[in-house]
């Protein structure tokens, strides 16, 4: 029941905690790296971070 390779992770107690962490992680990353707001507040604040992390910017 330990590994994904056993394809049993979906039925294991590990499924939900792992999935929740992934959903939260993706939300944070997409918000920081990809969100374009109308006033460019987020874009301008995150500008240098996006450039240096190779996220598409501008």
């Amino acid at each position: 029941m330990k590994t994904l390779a056993g394809s049993s992770v979906v039925y294991s107690a590990k499924f939900l905690p792992g999935l929740s962490a992934i959903v939260l992680g993706l939300t944070v990353i997409l918000g920081l790296g990809f969100m374009q707001d109308a006033n460019n507040y987020i874009h301008n604040a995150a500008h240098d971070g996006r450039h240096s992390a190779a996220f598409p910017c501008h």
Binding site: K14, G18, L32, N44, D48, A53, A54
Partner: protein, 215 residues
């Protein structure tokens, strides 16, 4: 959900510390290049009235915040993958961190290298889509090639990992940049280097924290 809380704690520790490390590296290696490139940009038209962090400490503070938060986000993905796979410890963490670097920096950078401000590129949405497609197919590729023992999945994984590069990243018809080519090349090298250290640190610290938390 006790495990979810542990994953969040491990990701916070790894993300904040690695984000600080990345900020120090950027302060010396990439930030000066971004500022130098902006000297070649004409004063922005229309964005004069837009809020943006003031050059100096305020601007750097936002970059530190970005690095800490993105470190947290990436560490959540990394910890969840290690948790599902049943791995921990900092040595294993280094390997998973390297995989994260391939997925979220190296593979997307093959088609869309880190760019200095003032570089022409294709429409933002198409580049974002290609970036996400590349990261996702690299995850699938690494899983098939490194973790699966099923030959079908191995072949499918290899093909998926190659697909975005065969299709090719969106580029403008005529590409031009305001900053000199040498500056741009230096930026690519310095970004690649600082992000590599960031991901190794992120993986090692996530693995270490997970073992400490008995995940």
């Amino acid at each position: 959900m006790a495990d979810f809380r542990k994953l969040v704690i491990a990701a916070l520790a790894a993300g904040i510390l690695s984000g600080l490390l990345l900020s120090v590296l950027q302060y010396y290696l990439t930030q000066p290049l971004i500022l130098a490139a902006e000297q070649f940009e004409a004063p922005a038209t229309g964005s004069e009235h837009e809020w943006q962090p003031e050059n100096g400490w305020q601007r750097f503070a936002f970059t530190m915040l970005f690095n800490g938060l993105s470190g947290f986000g990436f560490a959540l993905l990394l910890s969840a993958a290690m948790y599902w796979h049943g791995t921990g410890g900092y040595w294993r963490g280094l390997l998973w961190g390297s995989a994260g670097y391939l997925v979220f920096f190296a593979a997307p950078s093959l088609g869309l290298p880190p760019e200095l401000p003032g570089t022409d590129s294709a429409a933002l949405l198409s580049r974002q889509a290609w970036w996400l497609f590349t990261a996702a197919s690299t995850v699938a590729g690494l899983y098939g090639l490194l973790l699966s023992k099923n030959h079908g999945l191995q072949i499918a994984g290899g093909m998926l990992a190659a697909a975005p590069h065969l299709i090719g990243a969106p580029h403008p018809e005529i590409a031009q940049a305001l900053a000199p080519e040498a500056l741009q090349q230096r930026f690519v090298v310095m970004s690649a280097f600082s992000n590599a250290l960031f991901w190794l640190s992120l993986g090692a610290l996530a693995g270490f924290s997970m073992t400490k938390l008995k995940l």
